[in-house]
């Protein structure tokens, strides 16, 4: 029988007063110190979030024993978070996948097989699927945690070899709206500036981001900036939930979920009404746009549009603690500060109108000219270590080819075909299935063979029960490449064990356009292999099967695609050759030109290189810290003229920045009489994504062993819910039951659930909604409607991680 916290504390107090028998303390100072002593430190990048912290891996007798931050690093200044500090334990974890596993049917147990057999099965299944149903019956679903070399090679084989654009990845679930926002507002994807702006900013506008937990080291830099000049530096935190990030805020704007568009338009209204805008910046560099297809409008029309969003009207829409005065204060701080930096993540991106929300943040920067100068930036934070470098830049989404080339543009598609040496017409012009469409196609039996790499959609997709039905189908062949068992390996036919970070070589490109190399220093366990080796060998075997099936064209194309990589040693030479092809051929002349950033340069420059870096000389200086600024950005210098900025982004031929008229729109599913609460989901600092890695590290697991539902005290009181009571959350998709955490976090009328927990009854994405933004196709994880009820008092609970002995 479990104890309530109150009982527990009471008992603890009694124990403290009476007899302290003491927990055995097995490791004293000396022993721990010895464990941490190392023979050598090897540099690399952290494996977790998108910050790109540089770390040393400490090795003793060839075994990883410690991590320490690199003090000189431009990203983390030596700091690491608790996840970063401990990820070395994954390297030799006893539960690592070490042998290929296979089963014909999904109700059978797995059996260990050889790599020879595994690769042949994967090759035969994909080749036969293409022969029987066409290339679009196959798909690759990748990850923002895969190395750039891996994503690039996977998509090359799918597109250049098989001839399908069914190439997707989990950044669709977190970053796609930011991509859409940058492209439509600035004409170019990815942030303009760098983290270095943090130490020069005087106002931080943090919206829809709990960066204290999701980007802890970057938050520390923001926190240090605030603490160093507490009166001069202002922090505005806008979020329906008061989170640990709010602790450094001067102003917390707590609004009803889904009303962010009204709030942002109202801030713009104040900036315009009070004349706080930068007239010269707008005149020189901006245009006002509306609709699809976009139409030019005048500043006057924009002013007229904003009249719907006076602070008074917006405060009414936003609810919560929002008052007209708070909106005015936020707008004034934003506009008047010497330099304002906006930071946001999933709270903005995972919305039915995520692209519009991104546009409206950019609008504030364009109106006020808070851009391109030191400390001023409209800076989207990235969730994963290589969502930017690998997936956004490397061609890891269904509509883009490597180096920011939209697949539908003939000229750019043909460039890629020519560079790869495959005949024109090999890559289809039509984008493939985006993530939700891809898994719907799996459900409908349209996709017959899917390769899922380094991610767990069975847990991370919204409304995941629905999509698990498709993955369970016996006529859908599922390959999963991963390092541990997950909710997704449970649905696989073939599970292939892969090498982990520091067990292979490759590049991560973090949030600030910075590519950093991590070189292999230890061997992977058992028979685990780097993905680049797996893909090359798979492609070669597929060529044989296509020949057998009489499809010589595909056999030839596959061999052409892997030809530059044949015979290369997989630990270093193979990824190096892939990186060379990608950077020297594919990025050359593009806005993310990395042709100067060879492996040799990256090894000489441990801090990596920020693109554009079109020559080795520029790359050796670190590349470009701020895009579009003459004298700093070598691509801006190529354009004639004397204006300090050149917004040459490939999506805006007029070289202008667009201020968009985007109306307020709420969530896809708002609360009603039947489902009266908002449900929102998010992360905790201790766990990474689906917790398949962090759940196996005792410190991280024990810090947050299972998910809670956070409930506002006023709602809890109304419903008779006390801390640790078991609460059922029901949505139109299903039900989950979790212990309650009652505190002034979520706004009244909203509950908040952590989504890392794998235990079926607590798995958040079984109830979230799979509605998505029509522009970015990113799902609205952050909002749906639910009802809640207490089902019992506290119950003893245990954490659960697939395949983990606790």
């Amino acid at each position: 029988m479990g104890l309530t916290r109150r009982q527990f504390i009471k008992r603890t107090a009694a124990l403290t007063a009476a007899s302290l028998v003491g927990i055995e303390l097995p490791r004293g100072m000396r022993e721990v110190a010895q464990a941490a002593d190392v023979d050598r430190w090897e540099p690399g990048v952290c494996r977790f979030c998108g910050v790109g912290c540089r770390v040393y891996l400490g090795l003793k007798n060839g075994k990883p024993v410690a991590i320490k931050g690199i003090t000189e690093s431009a990203t983390n200044k030596g700091y690491v978070c608790m996840k970063g500090m401990l990820f070395y334990r994954i390297i030799h974890h006893p539960e690592r996948l070490k042998k290929p596993l296979y089963r014909e049917r999904k109700d059978q147990p797995f059996r260990e097989i050889s790599w020879e057999e595994a690769l042949d099965i994967a090759a035969r299944k994909f080749a036969e699927t293409v022969a029987r149903y066409g290339p679009d019956a196959t798909a690759y679903y990748g990850s923002g945690q895969a190395l750039t070399e891996e994503t690039y090679l996977f998509q090359k084989i799918m597109r250049g070899g098989l001839g399908t654009n069914n190439v997707e990845g989990n950044p669709r679930l977190c970053m796609a709206s930011a991509v859409g926002g940058y492209l439509t507002s600035f004409g170019a994807d990815e942030p303009i500036g760098s983290y270095a702006n943090i130490e020069k900013a005087y106002c931080f506008f943090i919206i829809g981001s709990n960066m204290a937990e999701c980007h802890p080291v970057l938050f520390r830099r923001v926190m240090n900036r605030k603490l160093s000049r507490p009166d001069e530096v202002k922090v505005i935190n806008a979020d329906p939930r008061v989170s640990p990030t709010s602790r450094i805020a001067d102003l917390h704007l707590q609004f009803k979920p889904g009303t962010d568009l009204a709030l942002l338009n109202a801030m713009a209204y104040v900036i315009v009404e009070e004349g706080l805008y930068d007239e010269e910046f707008i005149r020189k560099y901006c245009k006002f746009k509306i609709g699809k297809p976009p139409k030019d409008v005048s500043f006057e029309e924009y002013k007229e549009f904003l009249k719907q969003y006076t602070p008074e009207k917006a405060a009414e829409i936003c609810g919560g603690n929002i008052t007209p005065e708070k909106i005015r204060t936020a707008a004034r701080w934003f506009a008047r500060s010497k330099a304002t930096m906006s930071l946001w993540t999933m709270g903005i991106n995972q919305r039915i109108r995520g692209v519009w929300a991104n546009n409206l943040i950019h609008n504030l920067h364009l109106l006020t000219g808070q851009l391109c100068k030191p400390g001023a930036d409209s800076f989207s934070l990235t969730g994963q270590p290589n969502a930017c470098g690998g997936v956004r830049e490397g061609g890891g989404l269904c509509h883009i080819l490597p180096a920011h080339r939209p697949v539908k543009i003939d000229k750019l598609r043909h460039q890629v075909e020519d560079l790869w040496g495959v005949p024109r017409g090999t890559i289809p012009p039509k984008p493939g299935y985006h993530t939700i469409a891809m898994f719907r196609a799996v459900n409908q039996g349209k996709i017959k063979a899917i390769w899922i790499n380094c991610t767990s959609p069975a847990q991370s997709l919204p409304n995941c029960d629905y999509y698990r039905k498709g993955l369970r189908r016996d006529d859908v062949f599922v390959v999963v490449t991963d390092i541990f068992p997950t909710k997704t390996t449970e649905l696989a036919n073939l599970v292939l064990p892969t090498a982990f970070h520091f067990e292979k070589t490759g590049v991560y490109g973090c949030t600030e356009r910075r590519s950093q190399l991590t070189v292999k220093v230890v061997d992977p366990p058992g028979e685990a292999k780097p993905e680049v080796w797996i893909v090359r060998e798979w492609a070669l075997r597929m060529a044989e099967h296509f020949e057998r099936l009489g499809d010589r064209r595909r056999a030839r194309n596959l061999r052409i695609c892997v030809k530059p990589f044949l015979g290369k040693e997989e630990g270093y030479e193979l990824p190096k050759a892939i990186w060379e092809e990608y950077t020297q051929k594919l990025t050359k002349g593009r806005d993310n030109d990395l042709s100067g950033a060879t492996y040799e340069v990256l090894r000489k420059r441990p801090d990596g290189v920020q693109w554009p870096a079109p020559t080795e000389e520029i790359a050796l200086r670190g590349g470009t810290p701020t895009k579009f600024v003459r004298g700093i950005d070598p691509l801006a210098d190529k354009h004639p003229g004397t204006d300090p900025y050149v917004f040459y982004g490939p999506a805006h031929r007029d070289h202008k920045l667009y201020i968009w008229l985007r109306p307020y729109q709420g969530a896809a599913e708002e609360p009603d009489a039947e489902y009266p609460f908002y449900l929102s989901t998010g992360r905790v600092i201790d766990h990474w994504h689906t917790s398949s890695m962090t759940g196996r590290i005792p410190e991280l697991l024990r810090a947050n062993p299972y998910a809670y539902v956070e409930i506002n005290p006023r709602d809890a009181r109304k419903l008779g819910i006390k801390p640790n009571d078991m609460v059922e959350i029901e949505t139109r998709r299903g039900k989950i039951v979790l212990p309650a955490k009652v505190y002034e976090g979520p706004i009244e009328g909203m509950v908040f659930v952590y989504w890392y927990d794998m235990e079926e009854s607590r798995m958040a994405n079984r109830v979230t909604k799979d509605a998505f933004d029509p522009g970015s196709k990113e799902p609205e994880f952050k909002i749906c409607a639910c009802r809640i009820r207490k089902v019992s008092g506290p119950r003893p609970l245990k954490p659960y991680v697939v395949g983990h002995r606790i």
């Binding site: 941490a36 410690a66 030596g78 608790m82 602790r247 245990k798």
Partner: protein, 124 residues
């Protein structure tokens, strides 16, 4: 601060002596570092340290909570390990994030002799 720290040390030492185990410890256990904690059931061990220490050792909790470590969510286990591996931090623990200080500070002293535990203010 010196007075407060002194009080804390005296208090903790007194607590340790006052709470001497009722059964005689084996000599091996007695040699281990003098830090004790109430015995916890398996279920109780699934409660994060700070949940109880917020009320059981409120001074330490508050110091940590208000410190840069508290703001930046450097939690108990990051320096002290879990129930199974509970330990006092070492210079090497601090090195994880403070490599420069590790190199520059005196090697014969623990970090917290100059940087107050749980407050982690830089020394004057």
């Amino acid at each position: 601060m010196r007075v407060k720290l002194g009080t804390l040390i005296v208090g903790l030492t007194a607590l340790l002596f006052a709470c001497a185990p009722q059964k005689a410890p084996s000599p091996e256990v007695a040699k281990k570092p003098a830090v004790t904690h109430p015995e916890l059931s398996e279920q109780e061990k699934w409660i994060a340290c700070s949940e109880c220490h917020r009320t059981e050792t409120p001074e330490i909790y508050e110091e940590w909570h208000k410190s840069r470590h508290g703001l930046a969510m450097v939690k108990c286990f990051q320096c002290h390990g879990t129930f199974e591996t509970f330990h006092e931090p070492t210079r090497e623990t601090c090195r994880t994030c403070h490599a420069k200080a590790y190199d520059n500070c005196p090697k014969d002293r623990a970090c917290w002799e100059c940087h107050t535990p749980h407050l982690f203010k830089k020394h004057e």
